[in-house]
């Protein structure tokens, strides 16, 4: 008991330093730049995040000092590269509280992770007439791989509806769960609405019937502390580039028992144990799923990004971003003719909005002229746009390096939009 108390006290003390937004901001070189002659305000973090200097330096260090292929060289460079790559895997495992680094598969991104599960586990376990439950707020990357699987297998896709506020209907979900349900694949946080789904409850409802669950964590890991064991899901996927790490690296976490049974995704070097023309045998997990030379510098960069976030603390980040979300929401609501799409009580710092008689793309171009980068379009969520009967929204998505001044710059830019169209 005493040990536990001491440990948590130490942990608390480590996270205690006040959130130093200015210092954090100075860690990101791109945030020091200008756009159209004005200091850049970057508010498209749900699309991709900027990279701290530590991540950029780690990538450079790999290419400068120990660039070598991994898992095969007996020379020092290769040993060093392998150690760094595998250390990154350990960091990822701790970051999402996976029981073992063996359960961390490096992929290109969340999209590839979903495709991997659909093409391997899906092809083995989902058959004609079986049902896959998705939700109306899924990103295309958690829709299309399942449609491809359904086309191949004759499976049926069921879709959980959402409320006008942008919350999943758990009643509808309960109705959809059936004896034919073989998988539930839902997002933890909506990229277009910001809704934080009650993921533990969603998982529990499926697990009560023995149904596996895949959680798309692309939008949650950068903003909330994630614990896959507490969540209780079977598969969890996310992208590195939204987590302040390089593009082209991402993670599939799955329970070891599932990974062991799943057939390989791609064939090639490193994923095999032995190869002969009579037949080949597969390497142990997770290597079975990592054919070919992986994105070594990306994985190392991801590990460093996780270290960087650990220095701040995900709970502190979530708290800071929530405060910023409330401020931005309050301020944007004051603008007449502006409507926020996605008003769930539990939200990550994503604000989608539309303006009366002004197309989102015109909003995007005009605020860009003010040095403010936001996303406009359907956010790879066309079914969700159909739900709201709109073609597109403008979206500001915040990160912990944003501040109230950024929000104020957005507001001034939106006022400029109104001025142009007045």
């Amino acid at each position: 008991m005493t040990t536990t108390t001491t440990k948590s006290a130490v942990a608390k003390a480590a996270k205690a330093p006040a959130f130093d937004s200015a210092a954090i901001r100075s860690d990101f070189p791109l945030l020091q730049t200008q756009s159209h002659g004005k200091p850049l305000v970057y508010l498209d973090n749900a699309a991709t995040s900027q990279k701290p200097q530590a991540v950029i330096a780690a990538t450079t260090r790999y290419y400068t000092n120990y660039n070598a292929n991994i898992h095969r060289g007996v020379y020092k460079l290769s040993v060093d590269a392998t150690a760094a790559y595998e250390a990154a895997r350990e960091k990822v495992a701790r970051f999402i509280n996976a029981p073992s680094a063996r359960e961390i598969v490096f992929v290109r991104g969340a999209t590839e992770a979903v495709n991997l599960v659909a093409a391997t586990w899906g092809m083995e376990n989902i058959h004609s007439g079986d049902e896959i439950i998705l939700s109306e707020m899924e990103h295309h990357s958690n829709i299309v791989p399942w449609q491809l699987l359904a086309q191949r297998t004759g499976a049926i896709i069921k879709v959980i509806s959402i409320s006008q506020r942008g919350e999943l209907s758990l009643d509808h979900y309960a109705q959809l769960l059936s004896d034919r349900t073989r998988l539930v694949a839902v997002t933890h946080v909506s990229n277009a609405l910001g809704t934080i789904n009650p993921i533990e409850r969603i998982v529990a409802m499926a697990k009560a019937r023995g149904i596996p669950v895949l959680v798309d964590g692309a939008q949650s890991v950068p903003h909330l502390a994630v614990d896959v064991q507490k969540m209780g899901c079977d598969f969890f996927v996310f992208s590195g580039h939204k987590l302040y790490a390089p593009t082209g690296i991402g993670v599939l976490w799955a329970k070891a028992a599932l990974l062991e049974k799943m057939p390989p995704y791609q064939g090639g070097g490193d994923m095999i144990s032995t190869v002969s023309f009579a037949g080949s045998t597969w390497n142990d997990i997770p290597h079975k799923f990592e054919a070919g030379t992986p994105h070594i510098s990306g994985a190392i960069g991801l590990g460093v990004a996780i270290d960087y976030l650990g220095g701040i603390g995900m709970d502190a980040i979530a708290e800071y971003e929530h405060d910023l979300l409330l401020y931005a929401t309050k301020q944007l609501k004051r603008i007449s003719g502006l409507h926020i799409i996605g008003t769930a009580p539990e939200k990550a710092a994503v604000i989608s909005f539309v303006m009366e008689n002004i197309h989102p793309h015109d909003i995007g171009t005009i605020v860009d002229g003010e040095g403010v980068a936001i996303r406009t379009g359907h956010h790879c969520c066309q079914p969700l746009m159909d739900h709201y009967n709109i073609a597109a929204t403008a979206r500001a998505s915040l990160a912990f390096y944003n501040n109230r001044e950024d929000v104020d710059r957005l507001l001034a830019a939106v006022e400029k939009v109104k001025e142009v169209f007045s």
Partner: protein, 150 residues
Amino acid sequence: MSDLRDLYQQTILDHTRKPRNKHEMPDATSTADGHNRLCGDNIKLFLKLNAGIIEDISFTGNGCAISTASASMMTEALKGKTLAEAQPLFELFHTMLTSPMDQEPDLEALNKLAVFSGVREFPVRVKCATLPWHTLQAAIKNQDAPVSTE
């Protein structure tokens, strides 16, 4: 970025607010659908052709300011013209928006449509301005398949 006023000129904003010829045409001889995936713009173009003359032209749909104004001004420019006259206008318009910045487009021949010359400084918006014209090409060819600017 050049000044936003080059993009959102008063003439363009006027056509955005009050689009001309924006209605369905039950007796159209040809129609086509156009779609810009980037903006989510949709346009349906209606043509009434008679012996190679554009007797009437209209459009419906939802789009950004640039695509709406472009559709509106295109219909005004083409009503009463022959197809033989419309084609070079399309080519001039397209050239104006896609030619390198150091080349002077032929603004005189484009007449009122020259207000869109500022769009070429906003490369991601060029497709907005050309969507109605690409849709027109499809309507002339009587293609039923929707066109896309992608």
